[in-house]
């Protein structure tokens, strides 16, 4: 469906995108995950034809976008990171305008607009000026505007930036509905929770390069541990976590503000062993829990840096 092959883009000496390659099939949701400035938006801009790559190519159903008016562009819908709406026009007028850009008029346009408004839950506000909308409503309308011409591929560039949790959930539900309809979604974000919830596969980009491209489970397998046991000690003074590495189940151990975090591969075997070791060595505790590592951990492991840095 969509193939990005060895795409490179430089601005002077700065290499924004360096040999990025990935592919997305029909109905698949691909997350482009990376910190701000990693090259996600540049990659999206190249896919949609806003930027010409210095090298590499982008194929949509085997075809390159050759010109501004190439019909291949009809297969793509873009939800830009910045709000792409006219505040002084009503929601409906905005959608009428964006539909007409794809030569959609009359009954077809009206149906597409009704469907899009229904999907994002803004039918009752269709006649209101966009300037009166909340940030979340604008984000939903921003999404609706990209759906009017029924594109097969939807490129979503950080579509939830600056919205409240309720609106974010609404957008996720919209995207899940689109996914069920078989749309291919390319979703850029630096929020790992979003990627974890929505994406079938995650492409991690850092400094313009793809450093991982796998399913969530596949990425987790790259980690040295699959679970972290979190234990709040009663008295942490003098406790030396590195002593725990003597246990065969324990792969990592760290103490921070009285909380011990021990990484294990097998929770059912590791947890009893650790608790037994603590009791034997006279360390009492008042709370025990376990955590699964997330994409943040994956990114940290792969780059040595946090996603938020």
């Amino acid at each position: 469906m969509l193939e990005v092959k060895g795409v490179t883009k430089s601005y002077g000496k700065l290499v924004a995108v360096n040999g990025v390659s990935f592919r997305a099939d029909y109905g698949e949701t691909i997350g482009l995950l990376g910190p701000n400035g990693a090259g996600k938006t540049t990659t999206v801009s190249i896919i949609v034809g806003l930027l010409n790559p210095d090298s590499g190519e982008v194929l949509i159903e085997g075809q390159q976008v050759k010109s501004d008016t190439d019909p291949v562009k009809l297969k793509i819908g873009l939800v830009p990171q910045d709000m792409a709406l006219y505040d002084k026009l009503s929601a409906r007028d905005n959608l009428i305008f964006f539909a007409a850009l794809y030569s959609l008029v009359g009954a077809k346009a009206r149906q597409a607009i009704t469907d899009a408004l229904n999907l994002v839950g803004l039918s009752d506000r269709a006649g209101d000026k966009v300037g009166t909308f909340s940030g979340g409503m604008k984000r939903r309308l921003n999404l609706a505007a990209a759906l009017l011409h029924d594109p097969q591929i939807l490129l979503l560039d950080e579509p939830t930036v600056g919205v409240d949790p309720q609106s974010r959930n609404a957008i996720f539900e919209n995207l899940e509905a689109l996914k069920k309809r078989g749309k291919t979604l390319i979703y850029t974000t630096h929020y790992m929770e979003e990627a974890e919830r929505l994406c079938d596969r995650i492409v991690i980009i850092d400094h313009g390069k793809v450093i991982a491209d796998d399913t969530l489970q596949g990425l987790h397998r790259m980690l040295p541990v699959t679970n972290v046991i979190v234990i709040k000690l009663d008295h942490a003074d003098g406790f030396k976590p590195e002593r725990m590495l003597a246990l065969s189940e324990v792969k990592s151990a760290a103490l921070e503000q009285g909380t011990l975090r021990a990484g294990v591969h097998d929770l059912s075997r590791g947890a009893p062993g650790i608790l037994h070791w603590l009791a034997e060595n006279g360390h009492s505790y008042h709370h025990v829990s376990s955590e699964q590592p997330n994409l943040e951990t994956v990114f940290l492991t792969l780059t040595g840096r946090s996603l938020r840095e």
Binding site: S10, V48, G49, L50, K73, G77, P80, Q81, D82
Partner: protein, 433 residues
Amino acid sequence: MIPLLALVRKDLKLFFNDRRAVIISILVPMVLASFFGYLFGGQGGNAETSKVPVLVIDQDGSNISRGLITQLGSDKTLDVKPSTLESAREAVRKGKATAAIVIPTGFGMDAGHALFTGATKPELGILYDPSHNVELGMVKGILSGAVMQAVSKEMFTGRSGREMVNESLAQLENTPQMRPENRKALRDLLGSVKEFNEQQDREGASGQGELSGGLSMPYQTREQAITSGQNIEYNGYAHSFGGMGIQFILFMGLDVGIALLMLRQSGLWQRLRAAPLSRTMLLGSRVVSASLIAGFLLLVLFAFARIVFGVHIRGSFAGFLGVCAAFSLMTASFGLMVAALGETVEATRGYSIMATLIMVMLGGAWVPTFIFPKWLQKLTVIIPTRWAMDGLDGMTWRGLGFSSALAPIAVLLLFTLLFGLVAVTRFRWGTEG
């Protein structure tokens, strides 16, 4: 075609949805044009203009100086008031008087001598406000006429004039350096004046005739404004509405450019570029919508001028529409050029406002170009607004035919092409990064 219409319709909707902006973009030029139109002659072109304030310091106190002041006071363009030297200097310095004329002691006597014998000419002092050079020229012209009339009147009919004639006749014999033939000619002249005076006295005494007023200006003027037709008076509002319309429509064009510059930095630009639209369509739609808005504004302004101030299209209506259309297109392409050359919004706004104001000023939209120095008048032919102004003036109050609109239309279209070419070649589409 559908996308093009959508793009144009959207621009028009955005413009007309902003009611406050629409009202301001129509109301402000209306108010300014009304004001300037009133200043530059108003309706009928004969509105009473303010008089030039002139102070006179009479240090002479002679019949001639008094006669001179009376002559000056009778001129309808001057507001003459007596003053002292110090107060006059202060008044001119503060701009309360345009000029002050100082009539020095002995002026009457010396002027009389100078009239007949060419003796040293007395000086009239003029203190003037340097910001009123044009009025100074006018005051000097009126003063020359008034001096000639006052001096000649006194010399031919006044008592001091007669004394001076007798005195001059007596002195004539004591000027051995004068050539005999010249002495004879001057003696004959002065003798004739003496005889003329004596005859005047006799006629005056018998009540048979009036005393002559001395020399007077040997002509008078009959003024006729050459407008579009007989009995059709010049309407100052025609020029001012054209000028202010051009200025504010250019500002509108500039706003179009700035808006495009801002659009390029927004998500909307990405969305537009992601759609299957050609670059020609994206820029062309702007030209079409901006031209329509510009044409609409011009027509509304002239409709208002027609209803309120009686501004008529005395010339070719088709020519008027042609000039409006060509100027509207030029404005739109000017806006595109601004967007193409602009780097940041703030800097672009600054230099493009400056460029617009220079174009408006040199184009004669504020004041007619004939008051510019010659070299500047020649230079303004490279300014598109000059052609727009000439075209609108020609089609409105000058009442010229369609053929006179062709040159302005052609030049404005050439500027449209030039600006458009710069815009298309320099526009940064973002595909380069």
